[in-house]
């Protein structure tokens, strides 16, 4: 009886697809999947395409390639195929406490604490560091372990609340996968919870890899990146909404084609930059000056992949040579604060190096921080070297056994370790990865 109904009610199908199975499939309504899986999203899109009647193909030289979405979904096309209920389960989040400023103590070392609920929307404005986001996608909610080095770093940050930023310029260094980006993320979360204004740049390398358009500034050797500046202004605006509404500009300013009166709130100033990308660079400069001048709210400048600031960019000058970051106005603005040439009255600059891309490696930074020793005959860029003076290196070690234990328990609760969790298993993973956080995650989650 069902197939008779199918025969009457099918949408317009061409003769080749007038089979019984395709007719049945065409009848099934969308959103059949009970569980939200990756494939549900994919084949929901596929169903929409199938429901539309197939248009007779025009004979022209251009034939658009249609991606076969039938193959993408493991549940099958059209939604008539069922997902095996034995295996598809709804995701269960792990119960973790919140990482609030008072929980960064020595007693909590080894505990995995999640980002507070008021901080998560701010963190989602900018992307998470690439490899960390893989872990956060796997186990919800996003949580990081409190480490001894985290506690030490946050103590330094809290002490810097009343001091100028030129006195606290820290760079997190360490092995690949040792937790530098994670520690920076914890610092950002801590400062957001504590009421600081935070400027967080998760991937500084995208500023220098010529992915944003750049224009010359007339009568100067500098270049400006309007869209990048506008995007950054928008991110700062969204992250620090509550903090910035309280602050106002102290004098009149001209940003691009607009005039900003004295006493406008900083949120309104940033909105100007969001709407007009060609004014965004000036907006950033005025904003940084204002934030530096006021003393009520401390500011944190957090930059990840800082090594891309200390090597030639992938932008080309008019003569075809690669240009240094100081010739780009937005990176130069931040370089001033990183090098201490400009200073915020209350605040700190915390940066993290990244080993993700070989192209971003900066020998100048490593030599300046003292993490690498090179031959005195080696020629290092003398134009970039002055920008790296006065930075303090903070070494991020691998996990201690206590920290690794806490992380292992969290992975077990998050259902990525299915072997019987025992001391020998933990020791196996810990020793083979040497405590390196990324390798420890790979060993636990993938078993290699």
């Amino acid at each position: 009886m069902a197939h008779r109904a199918a025969f009457q009610m099918t949408p317009l199908l061409n003769r080749s697809s007038m089979t019984l199975t395709s007719r049945v499939r065409a009848m099934v309504p969308a959103q059949y999947a009970n569980y939200v899986t990756a494939s549900a999203v994919v084949y929901a899109g596929g169903k929409a395409r199938k429901a539309a009647p197939k248009v007779k193909q025009q004979s022209n030289s251009f034939r658009r390639k249609k991606a076969e979405d039938e193959d993408k979904s493991e549940g099958g096309s059209g939604g008539a195929a069922r997902l095996n209920e034995k295996y598809y389960k709804p995701p269960t989040p792990v119960k973790v406490e919140e990482f609030i400023p008072s929980s960064a103590t020595k007693e909590n070392v080894g505990k995995v604490l999640g980002f507070p609920t008021n901080v998560i929307p701010a963190l989602s404005q900018t992307a998470y560091p690439t490899l960390l986001s893989e872990q956060f996608d796997l186990i919800k909610p996003a949580a990081l372990v409190v480490r001894e080095s985290t506690v030490n770093l946050l103590e330094k940050i809290d002490a810097s609340m009343k001091t100028p930023s030129s006195q606290t310029r820290l760079v997190l260094t360490g092995d690949s996968g040792s937790g530098k980006s994670a520690m920076l993320l914890q610092t950002v979360s801590h400062c957001l919870s504590a009421g600081w204004a935070v400027i967080y740049i998760p991937r500084a390398s995208t500023w220098m890899n010529s992915s944003y358009a750049y224009n010359t500034v007339p009568q100067s050797t500098s270049f400006v990146q309007p869209l990048l500046a506008s995007t950054l202004v928008g991110q700062i605006h969204n992250v620090n909404k509550s903090v910035l509404s309280k602050l106002v500009t102290s004098e009149k300013a001209k940003v691009g084609r607009h005039d900003v009166e004295k006493g406008t709130s900083l949120s309104a100033l940033l909105e100007v930059g969001v709407k007009d990308q060609f004014a965004a660079q000036d907006v950033m400069e005025v904003f940084m000056k204002e934030m530096g001048a006021q003393k009520e709210i401390p500011t944190l400048i957090a930059v990840d992949e800082i090594n891309s600031f200390f090597r030639p960019t992938q932008y080309l000058r008019q003569d075809g040579k690669e240009m240094d970051p100081e010739h780009l106005k937005l990176p130069k603005l931040f370089l001033n604060y990183i090098s201490g040439k400009s200073s915020l009255n209350n605040g700190a600059v915390v940066a993290a190096t990244s080993d993700s891309l070989m192209i971003n490696k900066s020998e100048v930074l490593e030599v300046a921080l003292g993490t690498k020793v090179v031959s005195p005959y080696k020629s290092l860029s003398q134009t970039i070297m002055p920008w790296a003076t006065g930075l303090t290196a903070v070494q991020v070690p691998n996990y201690t056994r206590e920290e690794a234990k806490g992380v292992f328990d969290y992975y077990k609760k998050g259902n990525i370790i299915f072997d019987a969790a025992s001391e020998p298993l933990f020791l196996n993973k810990f020793i083979t990865s040497n405590g390196n956080p990324r390798k420890f995650f790979t060993a636990c989650a993938k078993g290699i």
């Binding site: 899986t37 990756a38 494939s39 994919v42 991606a67 076969e68 979405d69 193959d71 993408k72 979904s73 493991e74 549940g75 099958g76 195929a81 069922r82 997902l83 095996n84 034995k86 295996y87 598809y88 389960k89 709804p90 995701p91 269960t92 996608d137 796997l138 259902n415 990525i416 299915f418 072997d419 019987a420 025992s422 020998p424 298993l425 196996n428 989650a445 993938k446 078993g447 290699i448």
Partner: protein, 259 residues
């Protein structure tokens, strides 16, 4: 029809002794098995840890020798044990025949419950890795399998090892067709397969089916999707298995012939 199948079963027994280990499942997929909370309790269908045979110590041989001598016929082995027991019971001087035979074979390392999902130790996963491996690039193959398992976990929130086991069981054929000549005619004879052969055929079909997936670029995504498709009941591998079974059924008369 029943007779021919029973003969097939008999013939299959003939080809059993070379299998490395018994079936790694206590129950087949099609059997009625209630496994609640498969994700949290890894104990049930995992391969049982194979206990290493304890090396015979002199004290143990004392206990076993008197038990074995009356029952078994006297052989060289028994006489040596009896001589060793006599010397050990005296317990004055160290044994003249130092126990060289104890260290002749290396200790067998069992698959413990912690290493049940290890890509190196688990026979099923290591067969999967080896089948995927090309040009001896084992680490690359291990990475693929590990990533695919993680992808399955990400999509289903349940133990990917069980998904893979299920998928391999569902996709593996029971019989293959061997061509023989009877006179000038070529006959297809259904013949049984060992566990390892069956599993390999399932893996090969799953890999071939995963290559046809056009939507996904990375191998691990395609492989994970294919395992899940098998478990959900719509995969090219299942089609091939059913085809092979149909062919075997169609040619079941040839099974009775001796060749």
């Amino acid at each position: 029809m029943l007779r021919s199948f029973s003969r097939l079963a008999v013939s299959s027994l003939r080809y059993q002794p070379s299998t490395m280990a018994a079936s790694f499942h206590t129950a087949r997929i099609n059997a009625v098995s209630a496994s609640a909370n498969a994700a949290t309790s890894p104990s049930t269908p995992l391969p049982p840890p194979m206990t290493s045979t304890p090396t015979p110590t002199p004290s143990k041989s004392v206990s076993t020798a008197p038990a074995s001598t009356p029952s078994s016929p006297s052989s060289l082995a028994d006489t040596t044990t009896t001589t060793s027991t006599s010397s050990s019971t005296s317990d004055e001087t160290p044994l003249v025949d130092a126990p060289v035979s104890e260290k002749a074979f290396a200790d067998f390392v069992p698959v413990s419950t912690e290493q049940a999902r290890s890509l190196k130790a688990n026979p099923i996963l290591s067969q999967l890795v080896n089948t995927i491996m090309k040009d001896g690039k084992k680490a690359r193959a291990q990475r693929f399998v590990a990533d695919a398992l993680l992808e399955i976990r990400a999509r289903t929130q349940s133990d990917p090892y069980h998904v893979v086991l299920d998928a391999l069981e569902l996709a593996s054929p029971i019989l293959k067709l061997t061509a023989t000549k009877k006179g000038s005619k070529v006959l297809q004879v259904p013949t049984p397969m060992t566990e390892r052969q069956r599993r390999r055929r399932a893996i090969v079909w799953i890999l071939e089916a995963s290559d046809k997936r056009k939507g996904e670029k990375m191998f691990k995504d395609r492989l994970a999707s294919e395992f899940l498709a098998v478990v959900n009941g719509n995969s090219g591998a299942l089609v091939k298995k059913n085809q092979q079974h149909k062919m075997a059924l169609a040619n079941r008369a040839n099974a009775a012939l001796k060749y």
